[in-house]
């Protein structure tokens, strides 16, 4: 998995590419931990076609971090398959997740 980090002022966009499984979740964790300060964290899921519970857990960790620093948190461009996993776990009701 590759993660492209884009900072626009205080707004950080992480563009993920690949499978967000147990193996790649570690890398994602590293990237999230690097985030120092932000007013908004946006996860771009356009290239994410797979997410497992390990990936979900890292998304939740990231969301928690955003909450702690009072930053806005949102996931965008979520495809159908991944969205169904968010819905299944009820996470789509806890955070801002949209398919575009």
């Amino acid at each position: 998995m590759t993660i492209e980090k884009k900072e626009t002022g205080k707004e950080i966009t992480l563009k993920l590419d690949g499978w967000l499984d147990a193996i790649s979740a570690e890398k994602f964790t590293e990237v999230t931990e690097e985030i120092g300060e932000a007013s908004a964290i946006i996860l771009d899921f356009e290239k994410v076609e797979y997410i497992s519970s390990a990936g979900l857990r890292q998304v939740v960790t990231c969301a928690k971090k955003a909450k702690d620093m009072n930053a806005e948190f949102s996931i965008i461009k979520v495809n159908k398959e991944v969205m169904s996993i968010f819905s299944l776990t009820g996470l789509d009701k806890k955070m801002s997740i949209c398919s575009d």
Partner: protein
């Protein structure tokens, strides 16, 4: 309940004749009785009236002599004449008298009697005897000339008498009464005499007539009728024919009935014998048919076959005892499997024999390692050689090769089979002509990919030509709908499911054609031994991605496998990675996907106590999420702990959205 005894026809007829004759006799006698009375009255009347002239002379003489001293000659003459009349008309007593109304008395002038006995009785009534007596009103009426004559009943010393009186007048106006008496005893005597002379013989004759009619009817009608009914009864109750023939005694009608009965009874005997013979023949024939049907079924392979490469299920429902349908499958070796379904024209023994020949030929050529179209060509040539009855067979032959997941087929005028998996597709290429009629015909063959999890469904027209009560065919549409709606999770195999749907449609209407189906499902199986390392998931992922199943299903399968695999890595040995331990992974695809993990770690059932909802509280604390996902995204799960091993099995069926 026994019926009331009824009189025989002879008794009835005799009784009726006797009753009718008796009534006639009574009527005749009554009429006769009145005739006798009338006769007596009229005789009396005649005598008294005809006597008038005769006595007129005597009256003059009598009056002139002042009622006394009549010439003895005249008197005797009168009496003699009276006697003559009495004897002639059998009248008791003729007398002449005058009436004195004042003294209420009569004076006899002359009397004549019938016989000596009466003469004695009436001697006191001789001439000039004066008798005081009661005068009858009718008598006075006659005396006064108001009536010409009268008949009165009197009782006197002669007994109960009928007297007819008349007035006699002469030219001088003198008058005298003339009376004629006949006794009731005489009348009854006469009646008795008449009865004894006529009535008794007539009655006897009547009785004789009645008896002879009874005897005649009994002999000619009752007894023959009884004999016939007895014979018939015997026939009915014993159920067998009496040895002696029925003889038609009595009248011609009974002879006819007896003849008819005898011939009917002979006919029945013959019919019964011929029916017996026929049913024996039929039973024998049925037994032979059943043996033939059994032999035919014996030709067919077992309805189920399964190994690691494929799963085959077949079903044949014959309409009659013997049909012309066939199915077969042959493992050709080297991972190649031949399947065939064929339908011989017609039904019965000829179809079955032709089918056996076709089956033998197909098997023969298949085992030579020929391609489906070559098998078709050779079989067609062999069948066409000696086919005087011009029977033909439609067939579909296919060979599945599990080495390259290919399915090569050739079709000889048979119904188009279906490929199920990635949608429902009719195998409509390579449609050739039917076999058995045209020799040297070329057949083409077609090759398609048949991935593990995909199924080929073959059938005969008996399936689509299933009729319902409204005489509608189930048709290709009905079959396709059934194939689309099939879910392996329902527990029945595809052929069983289609059969159930067809039966449901037919509403138990009798099947008129054989119904044959065969399904071949390609299978695959991968077994891996993995280390307790989450990076080993890449191997699992790569195997799952190789599957010929829809991409979203692959993603789901990966997710499910990952969750269970990570779970085992994390907890089986408390997160440690024992070097000598391995995790067993198996991925099997047939009509469903089966994932199995085996490990020697501590006993743990991943599907225990999974809370289905709310995995994420306000602080985003998540736990058991992986187990929840793997549970949610599979159709069935099994956990087993045996021989110190955790065995977790997950099932995913191909549902419509996956096809």
């Amino acid at each position: 309940m026994k019926a009331k005894r009824q009189k025989s026809i002879a008794e009835k007829a005799a009784w009726q004749v006797i009753v009718v004759l008796l009534i006639a006799m009574i009527i005749t006698y009554t009429i006769a009785f009145f005739v006798v009375f009338k006769m007596v009255f009229s005789v009396n009347n005649t005598i008294s009236l005809t006597a008038l002239d005769l006595y007129t002379d005597y009256l003059t003489e009598y009056s002139n002599n002042n009622h006394v001293s009549i010439d003895k000659n005249i008197s005797d003459k009168i009496i003699q004449y009276g006697d003559y009349i009495c004897s002639k008309y059998e009248t008791d007593y003729i007398y002449l008298y005058t009436i004195d109304e004042k003294s209420s008395s009569i004076t006899y002038v002359a009397t004549s009697v019938l016989d000596e006995k009466n003469e004695e009785n009436i001697q006191n009534h001789m001439i000039d005897r004066h008798v005081e007596c009661e005068l009858y009103p009718d008598e006075l009426a006659v005396w006064h000339g108001e009536k010409k004559s009268a008949t009165i009943t009197v009782d006197n010393n002669l007994g109960h008498e009928i007297t007819t009186i008349a007035l006699i007048r002469d030219c001088n106006g003198n008058k005298i009464m003339a009376g004629v008496e006949t006794s009731y005893d005489y009348i009854s005597g006469k009646m008795i005499k008449m009865f004894s002379l006529f009535a008794l013989p007539i009655t006897l004759v009547l009785i004789c007539i009645g008896l002879s009619i009874y005897y005649f009817m009994r002999k000619r009608i009752s007894l023959p009728a009884k004999e016939i009914s007895r014979k018939m009864q015997e026939y009915i109750t014993d159920g067998k024919q009496s040895k002696s023939k029925l003889v038609g005694k009595g009248t011609a009608e009974f002879s006819m009935i007896a003849d008819a009965f005898n011939s009917m009874s002979d006919d029945i005997k013959n019919y019964v014998e011929s029916i017996k013979r026929l049913s024996e023949e039929k039973a024998n024939r049925n037994a032979e048919f059943n043996i033939a049907a059994e032999i035919q079924r014996g030709f067919l392979s077992a309805p189920e076959f399964e190994n690691e490469a494929c799963s085959i299920k077949a079903m044949m429902v014959p309409a009659k005892e013997i049909g012309g349908d066939l199915y077969d499958y042959i493992p050709l070796g080297n991972g190649r499997y031949l399947v065939v379904v064929a339908d011989v024209s017609g039904k019965g023994v000829s179809a079955a024999l032709f089918m056996s020949m076709a089956l033998t030929l197909i098997r023969q050529f298949a085992k030579m390692g020929l391609a489906p179209n070559e098998i078709m060509e050779k079989t067609n040539n062999a069948l066409s050689e000696n086919n005087s009855r011009m029977l033909f067979v439609t067939a579909f032959i296919g060979i599945y090769d599990c080495n390259d997941n290919s399915f090569t087929y050739s079709n000889a005028g048979h119904n188009l089979p279906y490929k199920i998996g990635g949608g429902l597709k009719a195998l409509d290429n390579s449609h050739g002509v039917l076999m058995g009629l045209f020799a040297n015909e070329a057949f083409s063959s077609e090759r398609i990919t048949l991935n593990p999890g995909e199924t080929i469904f073959l059938y005969t027209d008996g399936v689509t030509e299933t009729l319902n009560k409204e005489k509608n065919f189930w048709g290709v549409d009905g079959l396709e709908e059934a194939l689309r709606s099939y879910k392996p999770s329902c527990g029945a195999s595809l052929v069983e499911y289609v059969y159930d749907k067809a039966t449901e449609f037919s509403e138990n209407v009798c099947r008129h054609d054989d119904m044959t189906m065969l399904s071949l499902t390609a299978k695959s199986n991968v077994d891996l031994e993995l280390d307790f390392d989450i990076h080993e998931f890449e191997k699992i992922k790569s195997e799952i991605l190789k599957l010929a199943v829809p991409h979203p299903m692959k993603l789901n399968l990966c997710l499910v496998a990952e969750e269970i695999f990570i779970n085992i890595c994390s907890y089986a040995f408390d997160g440690k990675s024992p070097e000598n331990e391995k995790i067993g992974f198996s991925l099997a695809v047939s009509d469903h996907v089966e994932i199995r993990f085996t490990d020697n770690g501590q006993k743990f059932n991943p599907f225990d106590k999974i809370e289905v909802t709310d995995y994420c509280d306000e602080d985003f604390q998540v736990g058991g999420l992986g187990r929840f996902l793997s549970s949610s995204l599979t159709d069935d799960r099994k956990y087993q702990y045996s021989d110190g091993k955790n065995i977790v099995t997950l099932f995913k069926y191909f549902e419509e959205e996956n096809i």
